[in-house]
């Protein structure tokens, strides 16, 4: 026989949840100790396993009580086994979902790191002696030598997609007159 505290720990529930199940007649402990504490039998534990299974599947306590009140033949047991495996698959999928969300967040964080802003980059190029025309030649050369990296670099400077497309268009026409 098992006390309410031990049963609660075993199923990860609170004592008050089990007391509530008792009060609505969903899971009434079979025995009482001499000091009148609730004691749960092996059969009670099996019933609790079924309750947990249906809870995980999202059924209301009322619906669970209805199901458990009916006869439990082989068909019901087969359905319960199937339900159990579906529950496991769903929690597997939920773990995968959380992992993917975490990865996507990480990716956003990484692509959000900028080497510089556009203005600062222009400042540096100008500071090293490049004029406007030189910068356009730089774009044209970059586009010709490493088009994908050109795109990537412009994105990292925080330039909008439309503007990038325009710059690259211009660069292509300049390098292929």
């Amino acid at each position: 026989m098992m006390t309410v505290g031990r049963l609660a720990r075993r199923f990860g529930l609170s004592r008050s949840t089990l007391l509530y199940y008792d009060s609505i007649g969903l899971l009434v402990p079979s025995g009482r100790s001499r000091a009148n504490y609730r004691l749960y039998s092996e059969e009670d534990v099996v019933r609790m396993e079924q309750i947990a299974l249906y809870r995980e599947a999202g059924l209301s306590l009322e619906a669970i009580a209805d199901i458990l009140a009916g006869e439990s033949g082989e068909a019901v047991q087969a359905l319960e086994r199937r339900l159990e495996s579906i529950n496991e698959e769903i929690s597997d999928l939920r773990r995968q979902q959380q992992t993917i969300v975490a990865l996507l967040r990480e990716r956003d964080r990484l692509s959000g790191t900028r080497i510089l802003t556009k203005d600062r980059w222009v400042e540096i190029l100008r500071g090293s002696g490049l004029d406007e025309e030189g910068m356009w030649r730089w774009h044209a050369e970059f586009e010709r030598t490493a088009p994908e990296a050109h795109q990537d670099f412009l994105e990292s400077l925080g330039i909008r997609k439309k503007e990038i497309a325009a710059i690259r268009n211009w660069s292509r026409s300049a390098s292929n007159p």
Partner: protein
């Protein structure tokens, strides 16, 4: 940054093609280092320069 890589050699080639000579490229490093040291570091890493060489370039740019 970053999926598409441009190598150091390609970068130098681009700069040379638009008329930046060795002196101007060092000036460019100095500008970069003086104004935005973190950006300079990130940029040198981006073009695949090993950590030791990055440190050398930045040292020379200061």
């Amino acid at each position: 940054m970053t999926t598409a890589n441009v190598t150091k050699e390609q970068w130098v080639e681009i700069f040379r093609a638009i008329g930046l000579d060795e002196d101007m490229m060092w000036k460019w490093h100095r500008e970069f280092e003086a104004r935005h040291p973190d950006g300079h570091q990130a940029f040198l890493e981006w073009i695949g320069i090993p950590a030791g060489e990055v440190e050398g370039i930045r040292e020379k740019s200061r």
